[in-house]
């Protein structure tokens, strides 16, 4: 087993005085695709936000590449090589596609932004065609591409995707999962929350089932898919 990229240890925390996470733990190794599934309101989004200092962690620790990033400012987390695509409102609507990508490289000082943008255009050719268009005027699927492209601009080690296929048509869902596999092949770890659990678990190395702010099951993607109890409870039969 390779060294861990991300290690979230028994997190307790939430918004204001209200704890949403009640001891959730999770790990992602180098080059892994890890999927979190679970019912609405389970705290999946909250767990992701907690890795970026957007949710106050009262107890537990978040360790990224051996360094504690618990409650660290978001820009400092990003600087360390972890990117985030939030569940909704994940593009800057009044900025063009190209400007969205440029913002993704805001922290980049090495002048590699232009090269990285070309690589992203290879993964998402559609974005190249539309690069002068305002992101807010694009379809849901295209916006999701912009959001992922933006998150890849710093060449992260790990990318967190919160429901990247929500609201997309079946064709787009299929394509999005293909892109995610492609991104993973570039050597980037992927941690994603998914409602289309079956398809997501098919491409995942491992998966977690989260409920009531705690992880209930953990197994390989195939293992979770094969588990009938879980399939009935969380994967819609």
């Amino acid at each position: 087993m390779s060294e861990l990229l991300l290690d979230m240890q028994s997190l307790i925390g939430g918004y204001g005085g209200n704890d949403i996470l009640k001891g959730a733990s999770l790990t992602v190794a180098h080059n892994e695709i890890v999927v979190i599934v679970g019912p609405n309101g389970a705290g999946k989004s909250t767990l992701m936000k907690s890795a970026f200092g957007l949710v106050k962690i009262r107890q537990g620790a978040v360790v990224f590449q051996g360094e504690s990033i618990t409650n660290m400012r978001p820009d400092l987390v990003v600087r360390r090589g972890m990117s985030f695509v939030p569940q909704e409102k994940n593009v800057f609507p009044s900025l063009t596609v190209q400007e969205n990508l440029e913002m993704g490289a805001y922290l980049r000082k090495d002048g590699g932004a232009a090269r990285q943008m070309e690589r992203i255009f290879e993964i998402f050719p559609r974005l190249k065609e539309r690069r002068k268009q305002a992101a807010g005027s694009m379809s849901g699927g295209e916006r999701q591409m912009v959001a992922m492209g933006r998150a890849l601009m710093l060449d992260p080690k790990l990318i967190l995707l919160d429901e990247p296929t929500a609201g997309l048509s079946p064709l787009f869902i299929e394509q999005t999962f293909e892109r995610i596999v492609e991104i993973n092949k570039l050597g980037i770890g992927v941690l994603m929350v998914e409602q289309n659990a079956k398809q997501a678990l098919e491409i995942a190395h491992r998966g977690y089932v989260l409920a009531m702010g705690r992880n209930r099951f953990e197994d390989t993607g195939a293992g979770l898919l094969a588990n009938r109890e879980i399939a009935e409870m969380f994967l819609g039969g």
């Binding site: 978001p74 990003v78 800057f92």
Partner: protein, 288 residues
Amino acid sequence: MDVTDLLQLAIYGVVLGSILTLGAIGVSLLFGILRFSNFAHGDIMTLGAYAAFAVVSILHTPVWLALPVGMIAGALVAVAADQLVYRRLRRTQPVILLISSFGMALIIRSLVQLIWGPQDRSFIKGIDMPMHFGDLMVSPQQLWILGGTIVIVIAVHLFLTRTRMGKAMRAMSDNMDLARVTGIDAEKVIIWTWALGGALAAAAGVFLALDTRLTPMMGWSALLPIFAAAILGGFGKPYGAIVGGMIIGVASEMSTAVLPPAYKPATAFAVMVIMLVVRPNGLLGARR
């Protein structure tokens, strides 16, 4: 009242509109990012105008050379107010910031009065002859104001669309949380936004003083039409502020054709209220 008179009023309106535009862009930018209406904006205008006035009266430079000094002064005061007070209040309710900025307005105004005295001042000594175009009159100052505004607005546009910091400001205005997880240093962008807003306010103040006179109350009196312009343009949308500024400016001047000139601010207010009732998201804000 014939067509010439109305055209003449329209020209005055565009000049006033230029001044309001510069103020409203700053208000709008700040609102877009901090979600807070800065009631000290008018008094930053006043301070910028007086700072430029100090340069003109001590070094005897032309006004256009003193303008950048005034703008720097406006930027510094705006950033100082933020760093000393507003920054520490940002985590509380936004309304507390409103009260604080109201207090800041009075602090700046009384400082201006302490330094430069309560009496009126003027950039121009004597009377400059207006230029005639047919039956229409334009003073050289008004041409300077118009030209200066056009240059500054273009510069702001280039800044917002071509520079990293400008794009980051637009990004923050779109979505603060996303900007932060994108890696944008929010504090730094906020400081630059204050600097830009303060500098634009100061330019507006210098132009207002060129068009009229310097008084410690000049900026506060302009605050209402500036807010009206910003609201008309859709608060938080700097480009809308240009449209809003022009509409309020022209409407205010045109109203003097039927109402006593003293009611100009009332016209701005009336336009704003109608707007708020009919289209609360601003002229450009309704389409989404």
